[in-house]
Amino acid sequence: MKFKRKYLAIPYAIFLSLFVIIPIGLIIFYAFTDASGALSFDAAKNFFTNKGNWDVLLVSLFIALEATLLCLLIGFPIAYFLANKKYNKNAVLVMLFIMPMWINFVLRTTATRDILFAIGINGGNYPYLATLIGMVYNYLPFVILPLYTTMLKLDKSQIEACADLGANPTQVFFKSILPQSLPGIISAVTMTFVPVMSSYVISDALSEGNIALVGNFIYLNFANNQWNNGSFMAFVLLILVAISMFATKGEKEETRGGLW
């Protein structure tokens, strides 16, 4: 057999099939079967009829929405200032904003918990607030990075032209800067929304177990051998992931992880 370069893809393709595709197939299988392995919609029924599950899903959606919005609100100006030569010429400053990513995140969560505890916000009295703060702390660098990479490519002459043609600063922002930053925003949303919904450690540690998100729910179901129910919730998450993959089609390769 003559060597062809495309054969090099074989181990990679086999690895992905074995450890990505087949496992997801199994999750879908377990989501729609019962303990004996027969086709069943019990897990779906349990999911849709149990109010507790809906609460978990709603709280997760809500906290993901809030955390994502907060991260965008805080991160957008940061990325804009960092990428704009007028305000910043220091490459090290950019790195400092991304650097928390490289410190173990459980350790960072511990630090956040300690300081929140010291100022009186703890899981006992403000579980939701503590969790939200923890999420923003953790995901802010992941929002700043794709926004920054996009903003480096902002068409400055368009922004100037906008202003020259009489647009006020608000109009310049909404008509030129924001539309141009859209790929970065979409990328930032995908890097926070689903991860926040499905996070386990942050909600567990900061709310003292008082707030259960989808991640905690799946974990608990699995720990209690409720595979089918856990798999169905995972299936619901998979659908959300599929939506986000569809929404970001063709965008992410440029903006994701682009710093290195």
Binding site: K4, R5, K6, L8, A9, P11, Y12, A13, F15, L16, F19, V20, P23, I24, L26, I74, P77, I78, F81, Y87, N88, V92, L93, M95, L96, F97, P100, W102, I103, N104, F105, V106, R108, T110, A111, T112, D114, I115, F117, A118, Y137, V194, Y200, V201, D204, A205, V214, G215, I218, F222, G230, A234, L237, V241, S244, T248, K252, E253, G257, W260
Partner: protein, 284 residues
Amino acid sequence: MVKKILARTYLYMILFIMYLPILVLIAFAFSSNDVISFSGNYNFSFVLFENLFSNTKVAKQIWTAMGNTVIIAVISSLISLVLGTLGAIGTFYLSKRKKKAVEFATQIPIANAEIVIALSLTVMFVFLGTYIFKTKLFSFWTLLIGHVVLSIPFVYLNVKPKLTQMDPHIYEAALDLGATPNKALMKAVVPQIASGMFSGFLLAMTLSLDDYIVTEFTRGAGLLSGDAAIETLSTFIQTSLKKHAVPAELRPLTLFIFLFVLAAVLGLSIYRYHNDKKGVRKDV
């Protein structure tokens, strides 16, 4: 000018808030207090440093976890580097349809929630262990597979754009000049995509060092933990968090990790700046 000052103030203010918890934790590395608190005495002391380097049970646990974390990160990133780079090169020459299929599969672990990745792998390992191998599969190997799944797409995605930018004739030229395919790849192609491989490797390391969920689900006994389940830094701290007994010795460790990361970040920034100035490898 005013705008500039305001912008700068905002940047430094957020930066300060971002680092506040870590800095406070580090500040209390030099205190003998059990709990971090702003009221009461600070009690300056190096006792936590002494404890971290002593022979106590906690110190041993911490260093075991630290060692495991690094070993797993290095091995899994190297595997991801090799498999992902070969995958990216191979896929580059696949037919359009097959290429699309591989790229789609590559996107899945990136977009997917970590807990779903972890759960799906675990379900498969339990399934295989029960019905096919008739033994418990969870070990260092399952953990390794989990970490490679997490990081391999990032190697692929970092190498791919370098292949697009590469001169397509370079490989053929090497073959025409008498190189074996193996040699042509190593000597002609790899240097062209090295910067992408490097970024992919770094990202793979980051993901592995940070990971909690996949580790928690897929680990078994082994490595420095011996017959016990492998503890990494993440699982060790999370377990202590749950028991409300986070060892204070982690504070000096945080200081070392912080300094190490800071040095690495500064080093890489300077390296990059230097290369930018020389006008080579702008893309690192």
